[in-house]
Symmetry: C2
Subunit: 407 residues, 2 copies
């Protein structure tokens, strides 16, 4: 049985941790698993490298940033390979390039174009554990590329797919995916199973692990994921295409309540309600690399309307400066407001597709607790409300309880 | 004019130093030089990586060590390239592999087989400063290789040769090559010029910079070297094939006095003086990877003799254990002694070839100061004496004076 296992950050933060990971891999090998490892940088090393780059230069070419950042994964995977050899498990480290990860030339956030894992297959044939440096590849211009923060999860999932692995295990510092952030909700439950669709909505709305892009790739290719702890080694959360039918009755309609305090709300006030205005606004923001998330356009009154959207709080100043620098006038808007003190609270569950009334329950629950809703957006299996930042955690708690997730 | 400049260690130890190096390169560019940079790891990073490897594993495969260690040079060269871009000097970092360094598969101490600097030439054609990661390459098995400690000097010299550079500048933390270690001899002089032959003998007998292997390569290919300071930026020592004739009269016969306290003396006592015994001894030591330096066989008395040799002090225990484990008996030796408290003092100068009496002067000077000579070895332009470790620095001082080097 082939298994891809990904470790990184705190799970390989120091020599002790690296030896602990090696022991675990040796145990899996003894159980007959053909293990392929994907390793990301040790502890806070990536942050440290970024800090140095910022000290050295204001202008930091992406090509050079990638050469710098990928050094962290190489170090970690060489050390893991040594730790394995040391306990009698043959192992070899591979850079992204050696592992066959061919990418585009979009430095700092490259996309995988093709994987040709010839050397990984050869190592497996010889009983060697391949230890692959995460989040990296080689571009069509033969330069080193970085897949971005959290890219090691993507490396692991993509490798599992191309190697036909039976499972991709993402080891982390939490023991699985929870029905809410356990720091906020005491009764948050670890889920034994979750669907890709639900996990995608959760990661998009504040669930920190795993990286959203890796879930998308796993979803697209049907790679079974297991999100589990590198500290307790207990079984974690399996991510599946759909739940087995027989359990359907007991399953709650809502699976999880997530929240995200990292965004701010920007409202463009009193803009003409005519075709093309929104397009003009959001195209300009996109061209300016502003990452817009939720968008809500209020009901038109007398031919004019308000448009609200959320952006990462770190981009607020850049966004408002850009808007006030001419864009507001161009689209005929009166003025704009920005509010950094917001929180987004979401309920997620595939069950809401066949259970009307979830939205009503959510709004009623918030209203009964006097929590005002500032924006609403929905997908087929998610409802998100923007509320005041100071009320967000309370909202998570009462919704977790209202949707029967407390036990 | 093409110049290869090598920086490493303390000269790129932190962001401030990296920006200082970038400023220097920008100044050289403005003066019309086509600069190619070779960068080794920042500060003590290589030591730090080795320390981590030792903590992680006792068995450390060379392939994995090379993957680990070379990460240090990659980080440093990416940061230097960023610092250059930041001040408007177009620059690109290149790994050993990208720079075209093809090596054998002898990990941790690989040899360069061929250099195909296609990408470096292309960068130069576009006015881009290539920033090459030192001491690394790619093996015939497509694995990352490390050229060994001090290998960045070799990278610089080899690159200067293959690019037909007019000068290879090795920047360091000293301002050049001195007639003796300035910490030992107050009146030690910085030499404006020295020949390859002399510098080779000096580096072989205790002069710390540059790395001996790089001097050999420079010598073989006639690459002009300039050893200079990355802190004072003053002109340092030029290494030449031979001195210009006109200065010959003023030049002292002896150019420098070096010393080395890092070796120990091992004596195999009372061994049969017959053909093949030495060969058997040193072949066995070589097969056991003991790095023997000086060898002296005393005059035979009644068909038996003593053989003394020096080894790095860190290898003494391994050497004596190996000898006493059977080799002594095999070659018919009585016993062995080891002495770690020795120092090797050498006088170096091409002038001694045409000036007899240098050896006599050296021995007389030591004798007049009551310093006993334990071993002697000579080359055409060097005489080395092993003395008690506690007297070595004194020996350097009196020889420096006796050979007229004090002024």
């Amino acid at each position: 049985m082939r298994v891809v296992q990904k470790f990184g950050g705190t799970s390989v933060a120091d020599p002790d941790r690296i030896r602990t990971v090696a022991d675990h891999v040796a145990r899996c090998k003894r159980r007959g698993q053909d293990v392929v490892l994907v390793i990301s940088a040790m502890g806070k090393e990536t942050d440290e490298l970024l800090r140095m780059a910022h000290e050295v230069a204001k202008d930091r070419p992406g090509r050079e940033m990638d050469m710098l950042i990928t050094a962290g994964e190489r170090k970690a995977c060489a050390l893991v390979a040594m730790a394995l050899s040391d306990i009698g498990v043959p192992a070899q480290s591979f850079t992204g390039s050696q592992a066959g990860f061919n990418t585009d030339t979009n430095h700092e956030n490259a996309k995988i174009l093709e994987i040709t894992p010839v050397r990984i297959e050869a190592a497996l044939d010889q009983g060697i554990v391949p230890v692959v440096a995460g989040s990296q590849g080689v571009s069509s211009e033969r330069d080193v590329t970085f897949l971005g923060r959290g890219g090691s999860d993507t490396t692991a999932v993509a490798l599992a797919q191309v190697l036909n692995a039976e499972m991709c295990e993402l080891y982390t510092d939490v023991s699985g995916v929870f029905s809410a952030d356990p720091r906020v909700v005491d009764s948050a439950q670890k889920m034994a199973e979750i669907t890709f669709d639900e996990l995608l909505e959760m990661t998009a709305t504040g669930c920190p692990k795993p990286a959203m892009r890796s879930v998308e790739v796993a979803h697209n290719y049907g790679v079974p994921l297991h999100i589990r702890s590198a500290f307790t080694w207990e079984s974690g959360t399996f991510v599946v295409r759909e739940y087995a039918e027989e359990n359907a009755v007991e399953r709650p309609i809502i699976r999880a309540v997530t929240h995200d305090l990292s965004e701010s709300k920007v409202t463009v006030v009193d803009v003409p309600d005519k075709p093309g205005v929104s397009a003009q606004l959001f195209r300009a923001l996109a061209d300016h690399s502003v990452n817009v998330d939720m968008i809500v356009q209020n009901v038109s009154e007398q031919g004019r309307t308000d448009i609200s959207f959320t952006v990462p709080t770190e981009d607020v100043t850049r966004t408002t400066t850009f808007l006030e620098g001419g864009l507001l006038a161009q689209i005929g808007a009166e003025r704009m407001t920005a509010d950094e003190a917001i929180g987004r609270v979401s309920v997620v569950g595939a069950g809401m597709k066949s259970n009307p009334g979830v939205a009503a329950t959510m709004f009623e629950t918030l209203a009964a607790n006097d929590i005002n809703i500032e924006m609403i957006s929905t997908s087929a299996i998610r409802i998100s409300c923007v509320v005041a930042a100071g009320r967000a955690e309370e909202a998570v708690q009462i919704l977790h309880s209202a949707f029967g997730l407390d036990d």
